[in-house]
C-alpha cells in the first residue's frame, strides 16, 4: 500500500476508526481495514492496531499511566555496530544507517519528553483516581523516569565522544539536534524533582484525609479530650467563634482591667482636646414681680361668729378682704372662700339659692 492510499483509507473509514478509538473495539469492520492491519481481530471483536493507538495517543497527548518508555539499547547497539563497520569498510551505507539511528533516537527523546510532561500534568490534575492508586502511579512513573537518566547520559556521551568527527554529515546532524537533546536530558532532572514534590504533597494529602476521618470518628464517639485540650490551650490564638447575634455583632464584655485601661486612654485623650463651645444667644427675661394676695379667712370667720349670717356667700362677697377683686374675679374668689367656710360645723344649708345661683348657707 502506498502512503497516499493509507491516508485515503483512513479518510474513508474515519467514523469506524473514531468509534473504535473511543469505545475500544467494534463488532464489525470493513474487510479492507482488517487487510491493511489497521484493525486486528481479538476475541471475536475488532480492535485498532496498537501501533496506530500509540501514534494517535501520542499526537493527542493521551498518555496512559502504564506507558512503557522503553530504552535506547537497541539503537545504541546498532550504532556501535554501524560505526565499527563504517570504520572497517568506509561504506557510505553505514553513514546513512547511523544518521537514521540518530534520528530515531532523537524522536525517542522528543516523544519521551512530551510523554513525561503530559503524564506529570495528568498526575497533578487527576482527581478521579483513588489517592492510593494515584500515588502508586506516580511512584511507577518516577521509577521509569529515573531509569532514563543513565540511558540518556550514555547516549549523550556516545554522541559527543564516539560519533563526533566520524563524518561531516553526522556532525551536521548532531549539531542541529544538540541543543534540543541537551534540553530533553536536563528536563529529566526537573521532571524527577516535580514528581518527588507531587508524591510528597499527595502523601501529605492522604495523611491529612486519614487524620480528618480519624478525628471525625472521635468527635462522633465523643472522645474529644485531646481536641478539647488543644482548643483550650490555644484559645488565645484561635478563631473566636461565639455565635453572632442577629445583628452579627461579636458580644464582648471587657473586664475591669480593660475598662480601667480604656478610661485612662480616653481621659488622657480628652484632656488634650479643646472644644470651643459656641455662645448661645438666648434672650434673658427680666424677672416679673408677682403680686401675692392672701385672703385672711380668719377675719371673715370672726365676723361670722360675731354677727352670724343669713347668707354666707353674700357676706363674703361684700367683705372688705375681697375689696381688691372686681367682677368675675370677685365672684371666683368669693366662691373659693365660701367653699372653705361651708365645711365648718356652724354652717347650715337652706333649700334656697341666692341671685348668684349659690345655695344659701347660714351661720348659726
Amino acid at each position: 500500500m502506498k502512503h497516499s492510499e493509507l491516508l485515503k483509507l483512513l479518510a474513508t473509514h474515519k467514523e469506524s476508526i473514531d468509534r473504535a478509538y473511543r469505545e475500544g473495539s467494534l463488532e464489525q469492520v470493513s474487510p479492507e481495514l482488517v487487510e491493511s492491519t489497521l484493525f486486528v481481530k481479538i476475541n471475536q471483536r475488532y480492535k485498532l492496531n496498537k501501533n496506530y493507538l500509540n501514534f494517535a495517543d501520542s499526537l493527542l497527548q493521551r498518555i496512559d499511566y502504564t506507558v512503557i518508555f522503553g530504552n535506547y539499547e537497541n539503537e545504541y547497539k546498532e550504532l556501535i555496530k554501524a560505526k565499527k563497520r563504517y570504520l572497517e569498510s568506509k561504506d557510505a551505507y553505514y553513514i546513512t544507517s547511523i544518521l537514521s539511528l540518530i534520528e530515531n533516537l532523537y524522536f525517542k527523546f522528543y516523544n519521551r519528553d512530551r510523554e513525561i510532561g503530559v503524564l506529570l500534568l495528568r498526575l497533578q490534575n487527576d482527581t478521579s483516581l483513588d489517592i492510593d492508586i494515584l500515588i502508586e502511579n506516580g511512584a511507577d512513573i518516577l521509577e521509569k523516569v529515573s531509569e532514563l537518566i543513565e540511558a540518556n547520559e550514555k547516549i549523550g556521551a556516545f554522541f559527543r565522544e564516539d560519533l563526533r568527527g566520524l563524518e561531516p554529515s553526522i556532525d551536521t546532524l548532531l549539531q542541529s539536534i544538540g541543543i534540543s537533546l541537551l534540553g530533553y536530558i536536563e528536563n529529566i532532572d526537573r521532571y524527577i524533582q516535580e514528581l518527588n514534590l507531587f508524591l510528597v504533597q499527595t502523601k501529605k494529602r492522604r495523611l491529612q484525609n486519614k487524620q480528618l476521618l480519624h478525628l471525625a470518628n472521635r468527635i462522633l464517639s465523643e472522645e474529644t479530650q485531646t481536641l478539647d485540650e488543644h482548643l483550650l490551650r490555644h484559645a488565645k490564638h484561635l478563631y473566636y467563634t461565639i455565635t453572632p447575634s442577629q445583628k452579627n455583632r461579636v458580644a464582648f464584655l471587657p473586664d475591669e482591667r480593660d475598662i480601667a485601661k480604656l478610661s485612662k486612654e480616653l481621659h488622657a485623650l480628652l484632656h488634650e482636646i479643646k472644644v470651643a463651645k459656641p455662645l448661645k444667644s438666648t434672650p434673658i427675661k427680666l424677672q416679673e414681680s408677682q403680686k401675692l394676695e392672701i385672703i385672711d379667712i380668719e377675719e371673715i370667720l370672726e365676723g361670722l361668729r360675731q354677727s352670724g349670717c343669713e347668707d354666707i356667700f353674700l357676706f363674703i362677697y361684700a367683705h372688705a378682704q375681697l375689696q381688691t377683686y372686681k367682677e368675675r374675679e370677685l365672684l371666683e374668689e368669693a366662691f373659693k372662700v365660701y367653699m372653705q367656710i361651708v365645711t365648718c360645723q356652724e354652717v347650715v344649708f337652706t333649700q334656697e339659692f341666692n341671685h348668684y345661683g349659690i345655695k344659701v348657707a347660714q351661720w348659726v
Partner: protein, 176 residues
C-alpha cells in the same frame, strides 16, 4: 477601604480569606503590613488579637472566655471539623481554591453508602432527610467562611476558601 471598615467585618466574627471574592478588599488591606500592625494595636486594646496566617485573617479573644462562650467555641469547632471531614471523604483532592458543586456532593454521597457518614450528619443536623442535610451542610460551611458561592445567583457551585487551612492545622496538631 479603611481600618473602620475592616474592623466592622472582623468584629462580626468573620474569617477573611485571601481568595474570597466577597471580602477581597478587606483581605488586600490586611495584607499590607502597616495596616495589619495598626489594626492589631487597636484590637489589643479592645481585648482581641488580630491573627493573620496562610492567607486568612481572624480575631481571637485575648482574655478567658466565660462558660457560654467556651461551649460555643468548642462546639462550633467540632461541627466544622466534622463537616470538613465529610467534604474531604467525598472529595479527597479538595483544597483551598477548589470548586465544589452541591449536585456532585449529592452524587458522591449516594455512591458512598457509608453508615458512619449518616451518623455524622445526624450528629450535626439531627435529621436524616437528604435534601435538608445537603442544604444545611453547605449553609453551615458558608456561614462559617469555609465555602463561598461562586456566583451570587448560583446555588450549586462553591469556592473553597483559604480558611479551610485553619481547621486542617488543628487536625495536624491534634491527631498523631
Amino acid at each position: 477601604m479603611g481600618l473602620d471598615e475592616v474592623f466592622k467585618v472582623l468584629s462580626k466574627g468573620i474569617l477573611i480569606s485571601l481568595n474570597s471574592q466577597k471580602y477581597s478588599d478587606e483581605a488586600k488591606f490586611l495584607m499590607i503590613e502597616e495596616n495589619f500592625e495598626e489594626l492589631s494595636k487597636i484590637m489589643k486594646k479592645l481585648g482581641f488579637i488580630l491573627n493573620g496566617e496562610n492567607g486568612y485573617f481572624y480575631l481571637s479573644k485575648k482574655e478567658k472566655m466565660n462558660d457560654a462562650e467556651l461551649q460555643a467555641f468548642l462546639n462550633n469547632h467540632k461541627n466544622i471539623l466534622l463537616c470538613i471531614a465529610i467534604l474531604k471523604q467525598l472529595f479527597p483532592y479538595l483544597e483551598r481554591g477548589s470548586l465544589v458543586k452541591q449536585t456532585d456532593f449529592i452524587v458522591q454521597l449516594k455512591q458512598k453508602e457509608d453508615s458512619l457518614l449518616e451518623q455524622k450528619f445526624e450528629y450535626i443536623f439531627k435529621t436524616k432527610d437528604l435534601k435538608d442535610i445537603v442544604e444545611r451542610f453547605f449553609d453551615l460551611l458558608e456561614k462559617n467562611y469555609i465555602l463561598e458561592k461562586k456566583e451570587n445567583d448560583s446555588k450549586d457551585e462553591y469556592l473553597v476558601l483559604s480558611a479551610l487551612d485553619y481547621y486542617l492545622k488543628i487536625v495536624q496538631s491534634t491527631v498523631a
